[in-house]
């Protein structure tokens, strides 16, 4: 079997670290605990990531890229804006279900520990792959006349805040039905909130 490349090793480290971060939080997770989980020496781990902050930053980039790629595929598909909303909601909840650690990391690590990301990741740089696609989604929605023109962030906040909130509530196990059963209603709510009047 061929030896994994450095890049492949990095990804496998990140996958493990993601689990730890999203479960334990940023400060509870340490470089030694990550090394232990992977089964490598702490020194070797530092060969891949020079600090815990750098690892955390690469993780958010990684997640933003995954989300960005999915939304890009939706943006480029032949769907109405309303159908795109439905597809984005579906995609987001599916990731939350299949790979809960990604969304958890986003909500519990990235959004909750802004001080960690300030230096290496100011503004929206690390999530730009994702935000850019959301910009394109909104811009095209307004351009074709389906969505109301407004400030980007008020629309973005409504959309993503809603989805994040639902995933959070779901994580607390207080929903009466599985998350995917809410998809249609949520997509409809978002559409009605944003559509042209």
């Amino acid at each position: 079997m061929a030896r994994p490349t450095k890049e492949e090793r990095k990804i496998s480290i990140m996958t493990k670290a993601l689990e730890l971060f999203s479960k334990e939080g940023f400060y509870q997770t340490t470089m030694p605990s990550i090394a232990e989980k992977i089964g490598m020496s702490v020194g070797n781990l530092y060969n891949y990531f020079t600090s815990k902050e750098m690892l955390a930053k690469d993780l958010i980039l990684y997640i933003a890229n995954i989300l960005g790629e999915h939304i890009r595929a939706i943006n480029e598909s032949d769907r109405t804006t309303q159908e795109k909303i439905e597809a984005i909601v579906h995609m987001y909840f599916k990731i939350a279900k299949d790979r809960p650690e990604t969304i958890e990391y986003f909500l519990r690590v990235y959004l909750s520990n802004r001080e960690v990301f300030q230096n290496c990741c100011s503004g929206m740089i690390c999530v730009s792959a994702f935000v850019t696609e959301m910009m394109i989604f909104f811009e095209e929605g307004v351009r074709c006349g389906e969505l109301r023109d407004q400030d980007f962030f008020s629309a973005f906040g409504l959309f993503m805040g809603y989805l994040g909130g639902m995933v959070f509530i779901n994580g607390e196990n207080i929903l009466s039905k599985p998350l995917e059963e809410y998809e249609h209603t949520i997509a409809e709510n978002i559409y009605y909130a944003l559509k042209t009047r």
């Binding site: 890009r72 100011s122 503004g123 929206m124 740089i125 730009s128 792959a129 935000v131 850019t132 696609e133 910009m135 394109i136 909104f138 811009e139 095209e140 929605g141 307004v142 351009r143 969505l147 023109d149 407004q150 400030d151 980007f152 962030f153 629309a155």
Partner: protein
């Protein structure tokens, strides 16, 4: 492209001047006056002579021109075209065609002559440029398209016209774009050379008018990043330009001129509706998002903080 045939003169030191007719359609005279701004007009007039010009001394009055329909080397047409518009009581459809057939080169001068421009707005279905009607090549000189050089702009810069005349005088080939505009003048964007470029690069918008700082593309409606023209290379009146004086570019060299809402950037959910020319929206947004997050201190302050 036709080049003037070399002429034999008895006085080699004084070559035969190219004969130029300057004819006006529906116009404000803006190109005429902009032309007069050329400080080296004198040397230009050593290579050409006006058979007719609306303001400069010339050998024939308009009345004589419409009667004799003289031959010329260059026909300059300023203003929008309308078939039934009359000059010296002759309908433009016959006057323009007659003079166009008897000339070697035609310069469509200004955006009205080139695309219809502002005056097209008053009776859109009847008014056009001489070769183009907005973007479509359906003007009256369609059959003579190869003679036409488009110099769009409202008005044109005097150096643009003297450049074209010089090239014709020297018999050089002028490379033209899809609207038959010289690439050497219109290959640039108005954005090129704008003093506010750094603010564009780092996405620092101008809070409001009347400052030296900030880019006018994000809120004030500047069309510089997608308008062809060398306004910030060959400066206006030799010293400035719209954007250098804090005025947004109004896109006056393009067939779409005049658009509406000229002092506001059209946005869709805060995103400029028109991207810098040729830049894919996705690339622009990715780069803009990154540039914006850096908050360059120097660009957020005043250039000169104690200007008194």
């Amino acid at each position: 492209m036709n080049t003037p045939s070399p002429k034999i003169s008895t006085m080699p030191s004084k070559p035969v001047k190219l004969r130029v007719i300057w004819l006006q359609g529906i116009t404000c005279n803006g190109n005429t006056h902009s032309f007069l701004n050329d400080p080296s007009l004198g040397s230009l007039l050593e290579c050409i002579e006006f058979i007719h010009h609306p303001l400069l001394p010339c050998s024939k009055t308009l009345k004589e021109v419409v009667k004799k329909l003289p031959k010329s080397d260059i026909l300059i047409f300023e203003g929008a075209y309308r078939a039934d518009f009359e000059r010296a009581e002759i309908r433009m459809e016959s006057l323009l065609m007659s003079l166009a057939l008897r000339t070697k080169h035609i310069i469509s001068l200004g955006s009205c002559a080139s695309f219809g421009g502002i005056f097209k707005e008053s009776a859109s279905e009847h008014i056009s440029g001489i070769l183009f009607d907005k973007e479509s090549e359906s003007g009256p000189l369609h059959s003579l398209r190869k003679k036409v050089i488009t110099l769009s702009g409202c008005p044109i810069h005097p150096k643009w016209i003297s450049f074209v005349i010089d090239m014709i005088v020297q018999g050089k080939k002028i490379s033209l774009d899809e609207y038959r505009r010289p690439k050497e003048l219109y290959g640039y964007l108005v954005h090129n050379g704008c003093l506010r470029n750094e603010y564009f690069e780092w996405k620092v918008d101008s809070d409001h008018f009347g400052t030296k700082e900030g880019c006018l593309y994000y809120a004030q409606g500047c069309q510089g990043p997608f308008t062809h023209g060398s306004c910030n290379k060959i400066l206006w009146n030799g010293v400035s330009s719209k954007t250098r004086s804090g005025t947004p570019c109004v896109g006056c060299t393009e067939p779409s001129f005049p658009r509406t809402e000229l002092f506001t950037t059209k946005t869709y959910m805060s995103i400029p509706a028109e991207m810098p020319l040729g830049v894919p929206k996705r690339s622009y947004l990715a780069l803009a998002g990154a540039a914006k997050s850096f908050h360059i201190k120097r660009l957020e302050g005043k250039l000169i903080d104690d200007n008194s």
